[in-house]
Every structure is written in C-alpha cells, then in structure tokens.
C-alpha cells in the first residue's frame, strides 16, 4: 500500500449530545478514489467537513503529510453549490480561479464548458440555471483549479447519465494523475474504495 497522505485514527464527533461519528479510521493515499457511503444521518457530510478542516471539534486524530496544504491542495464541494446566484457562470468561475490564485487555468474555461455541453450558459446568471446545470458548473471548478484532493458530497446526485459518465471520466483522469477523490453517496460504488459508515 502507498504511503498515506491523510490518515484518520479513531475520529469521533458528538453534536448536540448525539454521537454522529465513532472510531472512524481511514488511510488515504495518492491515486485513491474513496466512496464513503451509508444512509441518511450517519455522518457522511460531517466526516467530509472534518477532513476539509471546516469542523474542528472532533475527537481522535487526523494526520496530513507536510507536503499537503489544505488551503491550496483541497477543494470541497458540499450540498450547496458554492456559486453566487446573481453572477453569471463566467463570473463565478473567474472568481474561484482568481481567489485561488490560479488565473492560468482560465484558458481552459471554454474547453471545460464545451466538454459538459453547457457553453451556451456562459453568460447566464446562475439563478436561471437548473439544479443539474448548477451542479455541473460547481464540478467544473474542480478541473479548473486542478487541486490534488477533491472532497465531494454526493457529487453524482442531480447528474443525468451522460453527465455522470463525463464527470466519472474526469475523476478517472484525476486519480490517474495521482489526485485523490473523497466522495459520499448512499450506496457502494464499483471502481471506488468503499467505506461504510
């Protein structure tokens, strides 16, 4: 097994006197595609937030190798799309790229929009897009930023079969380049390292 980049040891979380997570241990290495699955309320999103550093009030230990910086190497997409409704698709993507100091990747913007067949919406305000289209735009942020670790909360929800395949290809491409994908879903998935909560 490759050296673990992120390791969780006996991670637990109690929220409002309710035990959400208990003794979760996991090793994540370069090139891993992790699918954390389980029913509603088992703590999938909470675990992602702990890994992403949003939640700090947990028990146990999380070790991340020194070469990885959460702020630079990890990108999180939660249930909310992380897009501003009043901005256009282009303005939203330009912001996220500039905020992360990655202006060079803007030259791939058109290619990415064409890949997901959504280029026609480039100047549309996000508030006028469907949920599926918003989801695609939020996923395009991943490939534009090219961060090493993708943390995705139910990334396939809301995608039709065609977009599912296109995004899955992007995931395959990412892990083949030594990227890491940590995602959640309600079921186990083929081709992923499944982790049941």
């Amino acid at each position: 097994m490759d050296k673990a980049i992120i390791s969780l040891e006996n991670v637990g979380l109690i929220k409002q006197d309710k035990q959400i997570l208990k003794d979760v241990s996991m090793q994540i290495s370069l090139g891993d595609k992790i699918n954390i699955y389980g029913g509603n309320g088992v703590g999938k999103t909470s675990l992602l937030k702990i890994i992403s550093g949003i939640t700090s009030q947990y028990s146990g230990e999380i070790n991340i190798v020194d070469s990885i910086s959460i702020s630079e190497d990890l990108f999180y997409i939660g249930h909310k799309y992380g897009l501003k409704n009043e901005l256009t698709v282009k303005e939203n993507l330009e912001f996220i790229v500039k905020f992360n100091n990655n202006q060079n990747s803007l030259k791939y913007l058109n290619d990415e929009l064409n890949y997901y067949e959504i280029h026609h919406a480039i100047d549309s305000k996000v508030k006028f897009l469907s949920h599926g289209q918003k989801k695609i735009i939020s996923l395009i942020q991943l490939t534009l930023l090219s961060t090493k670790i993708w943390v995705l909360d139910e990334p396939f929800t809301g995608l039709d079969e065609k977009m599912f395949d296109k995004f899955f290809k992007k995931i395959e491409e990412h892990v083949s380049n030594n990227g890491i994908v940590i995602s959640t879903s309600h079921n186990s998935k083929d081709n992923f390292i499944n982790f049941k909560l």
Partner: protein
Amino acid sequence: MNSFISIIHRDMRVIINSGNKIFMPIIYLLLILTFFSISLTNSISGGYERIVPQIIWLACLLVSLINMETLFKEDFEDGTLENIVINSDALEINVLAKVLSYWLFTIAPLVIVGFIMNYLLTSDFNISLVLFVSLILGTLTISLIGGIAASLTLSIKGNNLLLSTIVLPMDVPIIIFGTSCVFNATSGVSYDSEILILVMLLLLFLIISPFASAQGLRNSLD
C-alpha cells in the same frame, strides 16, 4: 492579496448585477431624514439645521444595523463561505475584504448621501466635511464590530435581534464621539480630540476584528 481583491471585485459584481440593492440603504436613510424633518422642524429652538448632522449620524448607524446581518449571510447560504474558509491562507485577510466590501457597497453610499444631504439642509460646507470624515471613521469601525457580531450569529436563525444586542453596546462610544464631533463643529469648538479618538477606535477594531470574525466564522461553520 489576490484573494482579497477578488472578494471585493466579486461583491461589487453581485451588487451591480442585482440592480436596486445598492439603493435600498439610501432610501432608508432618506426616509429617516424626512420623518425627522417633518416631526422636528418646528419644535427645536435655535433651528432644526443645528441638529441635522447628529440626525444623519444616527440615521447612518440605524441603516447600517439593519443591513449588518447580510455581511456573511449570503455567502453562508450559497456555500461560497465554506470555500473561502477552507481555501484561505489567511482567513483574517479575507474577512477584512468582506467587511471592506460591505462598507464600500452598503455604507459608503450612505456616507456620501449623508454628506450631500447635510450640505443641502445646512448650506455649511465645513460642518458637512467634518460630518463626512467622522462618518467614514465611525462607520468603518461599526462595520468591523458588525463583522464580529455577524460571524458569531451566522448559524442562528432570526439572528438580527441578537446581532443588534451584541453590536449596540460596542457602538455607543462611536456614537458619542461621532455626534459630539459634529456638535462641536456646529458650535465652533475644537473637534480634534473626537476625531483622534475615532481614529484610535478604528485602529483598535482593525486589529481585533479580523481575528475575532475569522474565529467566529470557523465556529459558525463547525
């Protein structure tokens, strides 16, 4: 620095794209001034125009309080705040960008309109200028204090009452020195010490607020 500028640029685009958002605080300010004018014009001895600068000061404070909960709210609700918190090398700097963009696009128009209204109502450019400077210093400090309160109450539903309860006691010194500054100017007395105290309060909260607000945001997202 890129993230700092990109947050201000993005918030400016949001304000421009959303059309009338920038005008609502100004309309509130004008309404408060109108109601004060109607109710006080004949009841103040020595002329209503003597207290116009103080009324403008209080009106700016009230309008900024009404809007304060929006400081982080929209970013929290659409999920962009999570990315700002995760992907910030220095969250404190980006919190400062949020507070500055709130001041630039919500409060600064009030300060400009307040200056113009005072000049129109009193015809005294010097007093209007003192009001303008004291409002810039005071409202910047109020915004920094608001950043702390807005971050602490972010995850609480119907947080406006709690937010006002936290902010108002901390705003009291700013109101006292802000209004006494313009009162002294109206009375022809020196107002240097009031301006100096407003500058000191601004510097104090410029140091405290980014750290306190950043921690408040982390706790609210926790």
